[in-house]
Symmetry: none
Subunit: 127 residues, 4 copies
DNA sequence: GTGGTCTAGACCACG
DNA sequence: GTGGTCTAGACCACC
């Protein structure tokens, strides 16, 4: 995994976890990698993973079973969806609309571009 | 003017200037507010406006006539359009597509929401 | 039994044992549950019960008869009372007073709340 | 300032700030010490103060004005009162009642002890 | 000057 | 083994 430098690494890790949850790859009650494991895998300092997990724990997306590790909460999916949508609506969408207006980009262009994006990134293998 | 806290203030000021240029409110060759004027108006540190103007100057959108002030360059509009579009396409759009896919937001929802946004922000009163 | 997450589980188990002793439910010389029994009942790691029993043994509240099990000591009640009171007076009470002062909670409120607490938790049914 | 070792230092710092706010020593809109200042004063690592300030910021008790520092929010007092009371009621009070019941401590003893405590710690000089 | 982040490394309690 | 905390030190963007 490679990190963009315009966003804190620990937030990118949290976002990555959120994405896995939304995609159903980390179902409820499943144990997630330990701090040390994930740090080794991502080649970051364990403290950075700790910060990411603190964020998710604070959002009640994961929960710590002491001495054992972190687990996905029962309603993690709904929670991730909720705060992601919240963030999207208030932070990203107005900026996005402002940009496409000023740059004179039409919704039809977007639709086309989006189809291509989905095909590239989320293509189902059996298509 | 109020600033979002997820982006540097000087960049928001530069974006504000870019918007005025794109909307034709700051035409070519026009003098723009002095650093001190704008700092006072926006209630920010003058250094912050300096950084914004440095950014615009570096993009050749404004030019400094020493002792007089900053002026919009002849092809400012094209330049703003160019680098804004560049930034939009490479930075924002992929992230945006990823989000609407994960959050399951349809293009039809977006279209509707966009119409409302335009009505609220860019509606000319005498149309 | 459910555990609070602001205190070590083994200490909560030890406190639970102390409570039973103070309430006279575990009289002197009585055998207490084996480590494995209690671990199974509380659904915790046996090591956790071991630590709780070590704590109580160190306080001379229980004693190990090898091959047989743990037994309540003759003066267990007095010992529990002593160290609990010690802990209460030096650790909890000052913090408690500081809190009710800052939060502006009166002793009358407390008295009322306490009566309710006793009624809920320690009311004997046949009174 | 000296720290107890049964609670994280950063939480003790946050609690110290909360106390100052409740006592009116840090009124709304006031700037609080910078991370580095407070770290030097308390002789802890700056990161530890950062964690304390993160906690308070998350509770909306302080707010960061970028490049300037942290400031007490307008309703900081109410917020500190709210979450402190919440914590007190759910975490400390039941434990406290359980203890005084088991230790057979009367409310009259407490009242007396409390008066003494107040006299020692919060005595007004002009009495 | 301000806070924000990250690394490296350590120690600890807990299960 | 697990996470939680702290230190030391560094670099950075920003105001």
């Amino acid at each position: 995994m490679e990190f963009r430098d315009n966003e804190a690494i620990y937030l990118q890790i949290a976002a990555y976890a959120g994405e896995r949850i939304l995609l159903g790859k980390w179902p409820a009650d499943q144990k997630i990698p330990s701090v040390r494991e994930l740090a080794a895998e991502l080649q970051v300092n364990p403290n950075t993973v700790v910060r990411a997990y603190e964020f998710l724990q604070h959002k009640e997306v994961i929960i710590n079973k002491r001495g054992i590790g972190f687990f996905i909460t029962a309603d993690a999916r709904e929670r991730v969806m909720a705060y992601s949508r919240e963030r999207f609506m208030t932070n990203e969408l107005p900026e996005f609309f402002r940009n496409i207006y000023l740059l004179n980009i039409s919704m039809d262009e977007l639709r086309e571009s989006y189809e291509q994006f989905k095909a590239e990134h989320y293509q189902q293998p059996g298509a």
